[in-house]
């Protein structure tokens, strides 16, 4: 089953596909410039020692962004039906 959640709520090593980036202006531009656009597959690589920022694996490379920036990114993830 597929579910849409905010990037902030993703767990470490969880995979997902970006479905929307809901922010305009500088932040939105920056997020898109760095390749975080709908259809992109990402994996959460880890989080900083204080849980923020978060590091993402994207197309074989690593990006990092703050949790409050991740809030604007909506991701589609696979969830087990058993849950």
């Amino acid at each position: 089953m597929l579910e849409r959640i905010s990037l902030r709520r993703m767990a470490k090593n969880q995979r997902g596909t970006i479905t929307a980036v809901k922010v305009a202006g500088d932040l939105g531009r920056r997020i898109r410039d760095m390749g975080l656009v709908p259809g992109t597959e990402i994996t959460v690589q880890g989080r900083a020692p204080l849980n923020d920022p978060v590091a993402l694996r994207i197309r074989g490379n690593t990006l990092t962004l703050r949790n409050n920036e991740a809030d604007f990114i909506e991701v589609e993830i696979e969830v087990d039906k058993a849950d």
Partner: protein, 724 residues
Amino acid sequence: MLKIILALAGNPNAGKTTLFNALTGARQHVGNYPGVTVERKEGDYHKDDFNAVVVDLPGTYSLTAYSEEEVVARDFLANEKPAVVINILDAANLERNLYLTCQLLELKVPLVVALNMMDVAKDRGMEIDIDKLSAFLGVPVLPIVARSSRGLDDLMAAVKAQAAGRLAPPDPAKVRISYGDDIDQTLLTMTGLIRDSGLLKGKYPARWIAVKIVENDEMLINEVKAADPELGARLLHEAELVAEHLMQTFDTYPEAVIADHRYGFIKGILKRGIITHRYDENRLYTSDRIDKVLTNRFAGPLLMLAVLFSIYQITFSLSALPVSWVAAVFGWLGGVLDAGLTDGPLKSMLISGVIDGVGGVLGFVPLIMLMFLCIAILEDSGYLARVAFMMDRIFRIFGLHGSSVMAFIVSGGIAGGCAVPGVMAARTLRSPKERMATLLTVPFMNCGAKLPIMALLIGAFFAEHQAMYMFGFTLFSWVVALVAAKILRLTVLRGAPTPFVMELPPYRFPTFKGLLIHTWERTWQYIKKAGTVILAISILLWAMMTYPGLSPEKKAAFVQEKEQISARYKTGSEERERLLKEVEGRRGAAALQHSIAGRIGVALEKVTWLSGFDWRTNIALLGGFAAKEVVVSTLGTAYSMGDVDPEAAASLGQRLARDAAWSPLVALSALLFMAFYAPCFVTVVCIAREAGSWKWAFFSIGYSTTFAFILSTGVYQVGRFLGF
């Protein structure tokens, strides 16, 4: 022969600087773009009869007007029209790197693509069909490995051909990116209008202007409005219509649609057999394994502290020896002049103004070189990005950026640093507001030059708790600096945080050549630019502490007194030496009080009595503007003790402890003031350089002095009230 201009464009971390160094060697010139703090790097390239000026544009991910770097890169391409733009791409990160390429194609600049790090891509099991990529982009694509200078000859041959106009421009139909029906229709209308009117013709292509307006690029919109207000309004109206439509039907922004389609265009190209992966694209590489340790929740911060501490150690202990050499050379020079010249204003100016000034400038050089070397290693290896990643959560609370930590540590986050290299370390910050807040607050840290004054006053008044007070001041300076940063970010530097989104580039070994060039060019900039101003101010301060001299009568009175002593006591007797020294001390104090600085000090008593300072302390604090340790020696002169060595000021301490004007409360008030008032002028000059304007340098002097005064007055008055 006329030299052509080549521009290097590319993402940060794509190897642009490495390529630049490989092409130009040491023939580089570093400056600033007018009005901004972005570095402008130029170098010469010669090969046979091909001569070119290579301009290293700042690394950018895009050509929007998102950051100063992007604006600079875009303006350069539009205004200076380089003969060829070399777009360097990281082969292992092709998809994102091509995003900039798309925009360069749209801007219709004469392009040659350099596909860098082919070795890394190969190791990762990637194969790239270069001919196909070239065919799809319509521009030459050349594989290179910039680190080992592989493929540069072929690259430059292609550049030469492109510059000579021997290559056909890319087929516009092929590289025209479609942005979906709605936007494409609008673009068509707008492009027609722009073409008919000749708007900004010759500067930008018509369709590019249209795309930028739809993307809501404020800088370009303003430029269009200024050029043709009526047409501007019409174009904006078109853009608004399509924006409204997209919002209603797809709940999205035009800029998002445009970005999506650009990536779609890139994916479309890459899918057609250009890249083949032999392994899983997301498998972990050595670099990621290193990261598992270096950014680990527990080991990461500890290792980071160890790295920062060793940088601090390297910068300050390794530089101690060369710094002492510089001091020795200038001390010797001073001695030579002292022996060779007759006493007089010229001699005094040469020794106390020029030699001390030049010595002061050069004394910082070993420090700055070592610090830039350490920073270059951290930057080039990719570790600095990890430091920012780990520290960001803490520094963000105060409106700063994770990268600010370097500047704070070097400035004295560990007691004994120096704000001059600290201010320069703020260069690694790419967010303008966070950077400015860092520049303005790092001088609060406990730098090495403040330590002798602390040792003096704490030793004299709080000897029982010396270690605790010293440590307390270091901690307190952190609190003050961070809170001040927060206040600045809420007031004069108000504004949303700059987006943090950044890359954690794979770890790489820095190249030796890159490190040397990096370190040298930054150090040279300091010597050349800051040096001249520092010398001038040094002479000015000397003059203020020297002129006007004592009146002839007063001078004569001191001479007479000395003669009487000489006549009364035996030559070489202890008593005679002591008395002569005592008179000389009084003469020095009288001369200092009589000088401009002295008069200012006396005049300031009207205000400074509030925090418990008399004119002597005031003069000493004025002297501290030259360099904080000067406070000790000036205090010595003001208390008629002659020259006091800042390192051995115990007798001055005893003198102060006995003085009626001093008490532990006054000492505490003075300590607080001294710790947080105006930075020394070398720091101020560096702030002006780094901030790009003197306005911020004066602001730094003003706000820190005001803050220090309020703090010390508060402590003094409350202390008095409580009966201390």
